[in-house]
């Protein structure tokens, strides 16, 4: 997994001001409105793609694909949280790239014992980090990258980006039971991986 570049952490993107009106304008064909939306959410989309793919170039490609798909289908957008709609598209685009690149499965990773987490050089994920919170984020991203791919995808979609089981199942085209199991096993493994950095969670 390569670094995001630039790796300056951004905050979690909230809704755009007057978002409903901007989305409606974009759906009517207003290109500047669409540009405004994509500019606002590109960090969220890229972050998701990067966490799913682990490669900055592939993540940028997936984000770009997602924008094209969103442009083609924004007229079909039927309300709800626009960020979630866009993230679902990004997840699908990322997963398509993941499948095409045939980088699965990464099941050879041994199950780490409690306290033996190997979180190599957190700066590889977020080199510019000054606060304890940023340190926690680096550790989380580093731990995520150590998960088997199927678990990482499920945990990222569900726990990081707030998708429900059904949405995750549709994104990765797997049964809900499989999705649940991957999420639960991923959480358990993350806990083990981060066991010796418990102090980060207390800050």
């Amino acid at each position: 997994m390569s670094d995001p570049d630039p790796s300056r952490p951004a905050t979690r993107t909230g809704p755009l001001a007057e978002e409903a009106a901007v989305v409606a304008a974009a759906a009517r064909g207003d290109r500047s409105a669409f540009t405004q939306l994509m500019e606002h959410y590109q960090g969220a989309c890229y972050g998701l793609a990067w966490r799913l793919l682990g490669d900055p170039d592939l993540a940028a490609d997936a984000t770009q694909d997602a924008f094209v798909h969103a442009y083609d289908h924004i007229r079909a957008y039927r309300g709800g949280v626009f960020r979630s709609w866009l993230l679902r598209i990004t997840a699908n685009a990322s997963y398509d790239i993941l499948r095409r690149s045939q980088r699965r499965p990464t099941t050879a990773l041994p199950e780490p014992e409690e306290g033996e987490a190997d979180i190599a050089d957190p700066r590889a994920v977020n080199p510019v980090a000054e606060s304890a919170r940023a340190e926690l984020y680096r550790a989380l991203d580093a731990a995520l990258r150590l998960l088997p791919e199927d678990q990482r995808v499920a945990v990222v979609l569900c726990d990081v980006y707030g998708m429900d089981y059904q949405e995750v199942a549709e994104s990765i085209q797997s049964p809900i039971g499989t999705v649940k199991s991957r999420i639960h096993r991923g959480r358990l493994r993350l806990r083990v991986l981060l066991a010796d950095q418990r102090e980060l969670f207390e800050g």
């Binding site: 951004a10 064909g29 170039d57 984000t63 770009q64 924008f67 649940k180 358990l188």
Partner: protein, 242 residues
């Protein structure tokens, strides 16, 4: 402290994620109330989930193109839009006129008309000594005689018989019927090879001039519709169209 076996860790992870099945699992909830280890694990997992949900967005590694590379459609001028919108009604009107005019001009609207025309050809056949070459040249087929047609000379020569078979045609187009009733006239003459036949052909054309004009007008409308269609750029249906 409970003596029961610890639940499957995946059930604890499900509970930490507020999975409805796990939340409604009374046995699991009861176990947590008695088992500090399992309860601590669930609390750790909840803290982990909270932290995961706070992971920040990332700045893309390279500038992203926010819009697909779509060429801006040329704005359609008002008159072009009007022309384009006129295409469909013009085309439909043209097709209707061509169809109706064509059918009317060929006599298909009235079976008797076609019968009269054939009858005229058959009358002309028996005494056409010098006509075969001309007939073939004119019709593309060898001359057909009355005998070939299986008709008696008397019957052929009878004006009543002719009228009886031509029916409405004989009434509607007396000049054409008269011209076709001349015995011994060749097919070539009947269709305009002689002065008399030429008069009959002209009469037929005159009779059907309305239909022919309608068909020609329809062709003209179709041509106009095609020209208008080509002169108008596609209507801009919104810049998001791809």
């Amino acid at each position: 402290m409970t003596t029961r076996a610890h639940p499957d860790p995946e059930r604890l992870a499900a509970l930490a994620g507020a999975d409805p099945d796990a939340l409604s699992d009374r046995e699991l909830i009861a176990h947590l109330a008695d088992c500090a280890a399992c309860d601590g694990q669930v609390r750790d997992l909840r803290v982990l989930r909270t932290a995961l949900a706070e992971l920040p967005d990332l700045v893309p590694s390279r500038p992203l193109r926010l819009l697909p590379p779509v060429a801006e459609p040329r704005p359609a001028a008002g008159w072009r839009i009007t022309f384009r919108r006129a295409f469909a009604p013009l085309a439909v009107a043209g097709m209707v006129l061509v169809l109706v005019g064509g059918v009317g001009a060929t006599g298909a609207l009235g079976p008797a008309d076609a019968g009269a025309f054939l009858q005229r050809l058959q009358f002309a056949a028996p005494a056409a000594p010098a006509a075969p070459a001309a007939t073939e040249a004119a019709t593309g087929q060898p001359e057909e005689t009355a005998a070939d047609a299986g008709m008696a000379p008397d019957e052929l020569a009878s004006p009543e018989g002719s009228r009886g078979q031509t029916g409405a045609m004989a009434t509607d187009t007396p000049r054409a019927a008269d011209a076709s009733a001349v015995p011994g006239e060749s097919v070539a003459e009947a269709i305009g090879g002689s002065d008399t036949g030429r008069g009959g052909g002209l009469a037929m054309i005159e009779d059907r001039a309305g239909w022919i004009l309608a068909a020609l007008a329809g062709i003209g409308l179709l041509a106009l519709a095609v020209v208008l269609r080509r002169s108008a750029v596609p209507i801009d249906r919104g810049s998001s169209g791809r």
